[in-house]
Symmetry: D2
């Protein structure tokens, strides 16, 4: 049994960590912090957790986290970079769900995130927490930078193609659609149901913060520079990401087989049978990525459909998967939940 | 480990049974029948179950069910009554999620369901599977008639008041709202998203089949005749029932305390703190009923808010709860899933 | 052609006024104010109005409204009461969509709205803008207090019964469901799609501000005190209110005929055929109220279903209907839009 | 005043024609046919039309349509081709909203639509009813083939680029998302709210019937063969299509200006200001196409966002726009409705 702390427990990734860890047999959540709700019972804010979580929100001080074995940051960008060093010094593992340690190029990070990085020395040490790529490094890490939701869906879809060297890497297109929970539990006009419901739109076409993160991952996988057009969209549902990925094939190849082999030992990546389509509902609430592979009219354009639940495999589920690796637990433990259909 | 069969595996209550039983440590699903999909893999129809269910849909013959310890009927009304007797004769327990054995008065049943009952002799034996009322009888039963979704939410809300004899039983009002999955997985115009989405309506105001079932339960609880107006509504969401119940108080009483005492030992009925409201999202995917108790302006009208997930506590979860009781398993086993919020 | 001003043009009732007035042949919108967006083109905030509205948001000063013939207040409560007197002095008609002038009892208003009323002298003069009740008074008025959305749906449903004296007025129940646009265009957590989507809940069961307004209207209609339990609910859709109303009949009567006669000359109240149900989608975007009348199992409880679009007949459409009466235009002018189905 | 008939009045494009024509000052709908509902009042099926449409569904015989000036086919594919010739012979104009006359290559049509064409001789005569391309030909036509919903959104987005010859035509990508009303008013499992709600998926990636139609239009515009990957998706809302279009630029050009000039005289195509995004809600219920033009990171990939309401500009509104042209009415007449926001 390990002791876990959650910093930023009132956001959607925070409460999702609580949902998952409530049933994890080897984890006890001993601290949940929230500056805004400090002193209030967690299950008052989240009645879905009644009977499963006796915690009271604490202030996000290191003191309140000092007896944890692992601390999750489910915070806005810019918080973890200020607190991680002290926790690591105390021997506490840190799993950051925010973007603070995802991008190795500090200047690039500062450009996209619009702030100075206060712990640049930790960036090099941080391991990018995509287990399907970095499993062994994760096991040895002290500090994990969990991938963003879009980057998870897009990378898992493109990686087999890039690793196999069978597509033209300079003109990739990722047309990605997200449910509204991706915008977080923030009081913003654009996330109101009256605004986001019954409507569909693209946003941030000029450039989204997840672009450099995705490109970094794809370039590592392909050992070359990658040209990527990434267009995120908001779709009127709560959970789910659907990435539709386009690339040009360099030569004929059995695409289905490329994907099945790449992921045959992965518990959380499921390559659908040839001809199938991926549907976000089939992974809702689960830690799975489902992928479908298409080559329309047998042309030279490959179309990959990659779906995840943005709050699970795209955030808190993946964080727990990383935690399992860090502490030597079975990788699936606590993550067996079946998708909620319908 | 017991062996379970599911008749009618392609409907929403069928696939929900599969979702729940997939992780139940003491149950192996050995037969799933579907006349329409016989011969096809279950996980082709339901990709959310990939890796968790190797079954192939079988035809709904007794042969295919003969080595089961328990058979669930997740079928339209009128099927279980034709098959139950033979299964019982073979020593197989039967848990019927349809309406076939819910109503003790055969004539009443035939009037509301518009068909002749083919096993009237089993009606008397069948135990109405509302564990919060019939727990001991359920443990001894061979044949369980699982309550309907509306009846579960309405009865759990009214029972404490009627048992305590503190309300006027002749003018109860149940204004109940259901998500669209309650209509089942049937190709009907009225259940299309273009019809049911972004709209709200009442239906069957003249009389809904769940009315006699609810009345029967309330009359048993209060040992008197009950006057009930029941108006079901369709609300544009997939899962969830919200019952808003109105009754007139006969005298001053601490209502909150009446409910808390009635349900203090119940794992699946959660009385919310005074002043709270119940929200269907907080029970989505879980087997819980959450109840809030109100007495507006301290008047003589009591307002009870009772929410469940219609497919879990309102159907398949309650069926598994009954199964646990029947076989002496812990009542919560396999039903620990936390509600999926957001 | 008259000149109209809109104070508070960035909220949903404000933009709805712009949508309706854009095609009204006798109205030119000459001023739209918004403190927050002053200086910005209206169609930048609302691209749906491109080509139909050249206005730029102005500050909400009397100067900017001084050449108007009529000014609509689409503001939060507490604004109109500070500006109305000056506009009236200049001979400008005022149509207030907020609650400032709806309740005749100042102390009651101050209790429910939590502020002191700054223009109590205007309350007596203000005409409650429900044309189906006050048509002649509206034609002569200078200051109109438009009804709230819930009060419109509930009063139109109960009025025929109370005016006819055929129900017991001391135990009315109004179980009412609203789409989320009723909460306005405000950045609040509870109105996020992730919170309000796919879920259903009651709120303010202890007491909602529309309760005294409804009671006032019903008491006027029945010339007696009225006992009312009013429970508002939030339903996961954008537009629409569905009121389910319950009352006890005092004697046998042809209910359908009572309603048809009461509303036979009303353009905007449509009594559905006997046996029908009312569906909010059938009035979405239109200024209609549709009403269905039921008497389940021929008992002594009457059930009325009353639906409106909360932003049209429940707010801006009704305001324009009032304006038409005030200026002697045909009552339907500019309000011919057919409901948007599906 | 002309007399119009609608064949197939019970589908969504049929009822949408009724909604639009109800307020058209120069059109009287004199016949609405429906084999299934013959003999029943139209407003019983569609209560949104009460008071606006006195028609009774007739059988779809030529007799019932013989005194029309124009007949709209809002039918499944394969119906109009059997009835058009006779109507044309009687001097009646025909506007077909189905796919029967859209594709000039009969063999290609028969391959994609899986049936033999029964009026191949009319295909050559039929004018493709995209007014922004074929306005003059439409004015002279007897038989109009209205474009499909996807083809309208995609062609309006790509045409300026292809006509200007500034993109590489052999690798176009159209990633398009549709609301569920695009599937029609058919009782199909996949269109149930429980299936299509709260979920997002691609479908028909291997090849969708609108692919050859789009390609035909783009090839005509560019006078060369076109390579197109078209991936349709289902998004959980009722109305709206959002096309995200990708192409490679051949040289630097002021893209915003190309689009603004192309559509400067078009009433129903609105090029949004530079930097804006298109949102389907802003055209919901209106006949507009709104287009936004992007060139992310000033690279050589152009991204066009093109939104329509699939039932209006994508079907019935465009059909009325064609009718206006055919009969010399103002092109906007009856199509002034402002989008319903929120």
């Amino acid at each position: 049994m390990i002791r876990a702390g959650i910093v930023g427990g009132t956001g959607y990734t925070g409460v999702e960590l609580l949902r998952i860890l409530a049933l994890h047999p080897q984890v006890q959540v001993t601290a949940v912090t929230s500056r805004a709700d400090a002193g209030q019972r967690v299950d008052k804010t989240y009645p879905s957790l009644r009977g499963l979580c006796d915690a009271v929100f604490a202030t996000p001080d290191s003191e309140n986290l000092s007896d944890c074995d692992v601390v999750f940051f489910a915070t806005p960008n810019g918080t973890a970079m200020n607190m991680a060093a002290e926790l690591l010094m105390r021997g506490i593992k840190v799993i950051d769900l925010s973007a603070d340690f995802r991008i190795k190029d500090v200047a690039e990070w500062e450009k996209w995130y619009g702030m100075s990085h206060t712990s640049p020395e930790l960036i090099a040490e941080a391991v990018y927490g995509l287990p399907e790529v970095n499993r062994e490094a994760i096991k040895q890490a002290r500090l994990i930078a969990c991938p963003g939701c879009y980057p998870t869906a897009v990378q898992l879809g493109f990686l087999p193609l890039l690793e196999a060297g069978i597509i033209d890497a300079d003109s990739l297109i990722a047309d990605v659609k997200s449910g509204v929970s991706g915008a977080g539990r923030k009081a913003e006009i654009s996330s109101l149901m009256s605004e986001a419901g019954e409507s569909f739109k693209a946003y941030a076409v000029a450039g989204h913060r997840h672009l450099p993160e995705i490109r970094q991952g794809l370039e590592l996988a392909s050992a070359q520079s990658v040209g990527l057009t990434f267009v995120p969209h908001l779709t009127p549902m709560i959970r789910g990401i659907h990435a539709t990925l386009y690339a040009r094939l360099k030569s004929a190849v059995d695409l289905q087989s490329v994907f099945e082999q790449r992921y045959q030992t992965e518990d959380f990546v499921d390559v659908l049978p040839s001809g199938a389509h991926a549907d976000t509902r089939n992974v809702r609430g689960s830690n799975r990525c489902q992928i479908a592979v298409h080559q329309p009219q047998a042309g030279n354009t490959v179309v990959i459909l990659s779906v995840i639940d943005n709050l699970v495999k795209g955030a808190s589920g993946q964080a727990v998967q990383n935690m399992n690796l860090l502490f030597g637990f079975p990788e699936q433990q606590g993550l067996e939940t079946v998708a909620l259909y319908p």
